[in-house]
Symmetry: T
Subunit: 159 residues, 12 copies
């Protein structure tokens, strides 16, 4: 593939960074779809507060999905964020139908925890292969961990 020629990375480094970025892309696109699904199907006394918070998670996920995919392209790796690819990914599927606010908060705590754990593995793997990619993944992780804390805090009922 010619577009990869001139990429700043070659061989195994590019494979390592590309794999991490592709995995992050699928997670982030799925997170944006899951967040919207909950945003629309939510009910309960905390509806408005959680409804608004979910849109911030979606904005974070979409923004980083774009950065991650363009980073993949920048190193000569074709990113894949198509519906079927995302559906075949491993985030637990969101439940169908209306969801109570307490259930949504609990679900987000779990989902964000899963994504964060994977991101940390990717950070560990890309440090040597490509510090630029690693730096982006660190930024993504910091933002997701902040959302994760907020949902955990919202989920707690005792200190």
């Amino acid at each position: 593939m010619d577009i990869a020629t001139g990429s700043p990375l070659d061989g195994p480094d590019r494979d390592t960074a590309g794999e991490a970025l592709q995995g992050a892309l699928v997670d982030l696109v799925d997170l944006s779809l899951t967040g919207k699904q909950a945003h629309w199907n939510l009910y309960g006394p905390r509806f408005r507060s959680v409804h608004l918070h979910l849109d911030e998670v979606v904005a974070t996920a979409r923004d980083f999905a774009d950065q991650v995919a363009e980073r993949a392209a920048a190193i000569g790796v074709s990113p894949d964020g198509r519906a079927a690819t995302v559906a075949a990914g491993s985030l637990p599927e969101a439940p169908s139908g209306w969801q109570a606010d307490t259930a949504v908060v609990e679900q987000l705590v779990g989902t964000l925890s899963t994504v964060v754990a994977r991101m940390r593995e990717r950070i560990a793997k890309t440090g040597e292969a490509d510090p630029v990619t690693q730096d982006l993944l660190i930024t993504v992780t910091a933002a997701l961990e902040k959302h994760a804390w907020m949902f955990r805090a919202e989920h707690e009922t005792r200190g």
Copy 2:
């Protein structure tokens, strides 16, 4: 499901409008994923111009997906925009890997044409059941047909 109680629509009218909205939702989410996929995998002399245009299509698709899903919720129908649901929908899947600009423009002409045709069927079906839903679908269609014209115009090489 209690949240549907108090919906402004009941029985068959709600079913009709709900079905149209759910179909529109899946099309629009898929269009947003397809548009991003092309946005990232594009190459060729018109790269920048098409790259920017695709992001406007994605913005249109995301904005209307949100309006359509919230309209479904507003009439008491739970919207479903999860990855698996979207992947099971009927838009032809975008090709994997890098894509030349001419191929992307041609693909968008086809995809937008397909979505527009379905939207027009939904407009025809919802007029009696719910004019509010119909009005939203008309607005969606107007925007998609404008994008479709622009890609057709970009695709033409003779008058």
Copy 3:
């Protein structure tokens, strides 16, 4: 009255559209006053969240009241949004004194449901008389039904 001369509508069509618009105007002004009353008298654990949401309802009601009244003037019908006219209208009066958040949410579910039902009757009546007026009422209804869904969702405690 001369200002009506040159109106795009005459006779029964103008009466039909004018009546629908005057009714909508009274409902919308009353909704803005009711919303503010609750905004100020609210208390309970969801104070801040509901307090802010009510101001969005008020903004919607004020904006559309202005559009509806100016539409009436545009077809040569003098709009009446004075306090006494609004007070004589039929929205159930808001309770006096402080109100718990749960009560406010329930009240809004009811009030919005009432207004929406009337708006839908007006949509049905104005389609032939004046499609321009009908189009405005459809837009008003879509916005109110979205608020109504959100208050229903906030009101629900089980799916």
Copy 4:
């Protein structure tokens, strides 16, 4: 009523300040409705100029109504800005139907003069009871007197 507990004012001071604020609230809400009524029903050679000026009066009245009502709540007095309460207030009712620009200007001169006179009484009464409330009423009065001057200036035809 528990929400009043912890109020910075007690007993007669709170009664005095609360009464002044409730009176101001009714005047300001009525002024906003009267202003809009004239905004919509106006005609004559100065239509556009007066139409725009009235909207500034309405914006002033709405903004201060909100501040006054929230000040009442802040001292533990439940504000009442419902349609019936406003309609039962004492501002002379705006005439029904279309109104010539000269008549509207004259009406506003009178209405603003009435409201200003009442506000000055409230300023005189609240100085000892609550300087914070008095300060807000002074600000309200300054803004209304500026509008009153402008309508008087617009009304004059000889020096």
Copy 5:
């Protein structure tokens, strides 16, 4: 013409919608030129007020001319907004030379009334052929009728 291939409308429906849009385009471009002509040649005590109002009419006309022309293109009909085509259209020509403010207001009342009447015929004709086109024409008409009311109100000297 190849660019029309893939248009969402075919045959008589496209002809009907296209004719309505082309007629609307000529009216709107002419209205924008007429409005500017009066904006520049105006004199009299209401100079500033009418001068500013005319620029809002021009902005409305230019914005909708663009939307109408692009809608024509979107359904595969080539729009024609050239000077000669507009000059050959049927709006009564604006007078040459300086114009008193009273005359300009009267002229605008007449011109807007003419355009609105034609727009309403176009709304009636396009409902079946293309609801998307009809929806745009309804929006155009609502905006023009609002301007028409304002000029009528400005023109009136007795109630």
Copy 6:
């Protein structure tokens, strides 16, 4: 005509400046209509890029047409920008129907070249009669020559 009394220019100087400004006005209005015509009827691989550039030409032409016409009024000369006057002007008429991007770029190179040549004649003629008018025409010419360069640059295929 009384409005001309008090003009800063009299007799032949006013005639010279007025003639130059009226000529410039017709050219600029026609350029704005020609630019929009191409904006709507364009097709080809550079559709989006040229479509956007044409709107910048239209914005330039509209802005300066307004400045030129108001300058004419400021020196006591009634400007004429009506459709028939513009249609009778001398810019070559834009072709009807769809236009390929290469043809549009070539047409703009020609049209801008024609307008620039006329503007330079007007600059030469007005220097003594009115330096204020000349300064405005210099500004107009600088902007048009910049657009002309850009279309020439876009038109070139070899250095």
Copy 7:
């Protein structure tokens, strides 16, 4: 100290106003630190709502601390807002560690009530010494009492 020369106040008036301002400064800085502490250590179902509200309290406290300190400087009194000075002040210390939302709301009700009571004493003391200082303290108090009402309203569970 020379910078005090030329101060608009001298002797006892300056001492009185300076003492009130220094006291207000310490309270406001401490309130800003306390508000941030709760902002970070909060948990419970109302996490997001209270988290956001606390930041508005902090913004209010910081803004007024600056105004109060600069007012002290303007009358020739050196303000002291250092950590040790603030720590030695009298606001009850915020608890260490995580805090439940209900506890935070209750704590803020108490803290704001304490600060408001002190501010009202300062208002009473400064009226004669310096009306400019008093006016600033009235403004501060109005803002704090509004926050206090909101936390009381959020704290109430029965009317």
Copy 8:
């Protein structure tokens, strides 16, 4: 003079407030001219810093001159801010020609001190006559005293 009819103040109260406002107006207009004079004629190592600060003083003076004059008009007193009236006022005249930065800072310390002293007399005189006017003068004084402090601080070379 008829425009004074309907003024909220009569007789001696209006005279007292009017005199204070007229005096404040002259001081503020003169301060704005003096500030600009120094802004233009300044030189020395602190040129840029003082040049920018002077423009903030001018902005303050212009803004409050407008508020003060409109307050006078609002109570039925014709304000006089003409050049001859200002020149006849009592601020010491700024020196002609270029001025060193140290001299400008010293001059501003003096001028602001003079204006502040007069404003404080006006505050003392208007409290009974018109609290609204007094409130405006307090606000003016607070802003001028802040500028005075800054110039004193800039002027000091030892603590």
Copy 9:
């Protein structure tokens, strides 16, 4: 005077340009004071429209006074815009007390005509001495002539 060393102009050219700029400065400062005087003392049916227009004249005069004075400084000539200097200038003094709108419009027609005539003399004188100064004076004149036209147009009652 050392600051003039390094000025781009020397000897008679600097004197010529400096004299023109100083004259323009006095005219512009006086125009800004005259405009504000009328802005505050205006009455009559066109109050709001003329009141707003006068503020645009004042903004123009202030902006250009600053540019003109800084241009003088830039060529090493100390500008003088003090109250006494302006009062001694030659613009006819504005009348004292309230002014009817018709009188204000007429006054502005005269004042602007006077200033424009002087500016044109300055343009003629500075062309050789300093084209940069001349260019600024041309820009000032263009703006003043536009305002002059608008007031003439507002003043006319017959074409």
Copy 10:
């Protein structure tokens, strides 16, 4: 403590990162208080320039204090930014009373140098424990070192 459950870090890594963040928090809060203290008590010829610069240091310190505290919460460590905790920290206390500009600049050079040195130790310690925390501390350090350079540059009198 339950809120820590689900933290992305456990055991010693969390302790290491938490300790670094808590130390950084105390330094940053103290820096913000110290910066404000100098901002208010400053005098001397560079007053305005240093006064403005100090507010930028305060803005930097406040922004990063918030990010650092929320990062601590995100990894399950309760941050402590209370007045007493900050007062017990180790930054040398700012002097009381007025401060000359030269002294303030020297003080800031020292304070920033101290904080930067500590931050660099924290960067060294957290690299293995948590790269996300380290990345934040690097960003903080970069900003502080930029301020430190500027104060050093301002402090120097010979190269």
Copy 11:
């Protein structure tokens, strides 16, 4: 060279204007680099004030370099702003290493004086060849002379 065909200027006029523009371009690019160099290497008590002023000079130089280069292209002359071309130009080279504030101010006085003198020669030369180019150079000169005055004013220590 084909792109020059269609240029509004030919032969000697184009050579004259092109030479002036190319010279101006090199001066302006060099001024932007020199300004940045001083911006980074500055030290001394006026660090912040001069540091900020230099960035305004750089912004002016960059903006006009772009306008000047595009003007050259617009008349068919290829502009050359490459590093080697600029380095070979005649502005005295900025010194290497850190620079004291007094030295920087003195250097800027000299550099701006040199550039202004060259620009005035270019103005004199281009008047006949191309008034549009001359007008741009006049605007550039006006801006540079304003900066030159400010640095002279900052440089002076006695009047």
Copy 12:
């Protein structure tokens, strides 16, 4: 050199980081000049699209040049971005005269590739010496690699 005293880095670490920053500075300034040169001398069918893209590259290069130079100053190393220093740097010189769009795109692919390769070497070298400097270089590299990908994608004609 005194300004370096107090720098957070000493000896070899400072030399290493300083050398990397100085190299990056020269590359970035040169890239900004090269980008502008192409921006002005471009021609061909993709003129507008490439013309706009180049300005984004220039904006990126200028922004990072400033950050890199200020980082050097922050660690006590004098940055050198003068024209001669840049001209002596090693980026291949841009060709003189007009350039076809295909050539420009190819040139940018090469230039960006060169700069990226050098930046990666600098990242590798600075990790131990100064992680703060390294972090900035990583950010610079990420942005440049994104531009490099886009030019490669634009350059490709087959997948």
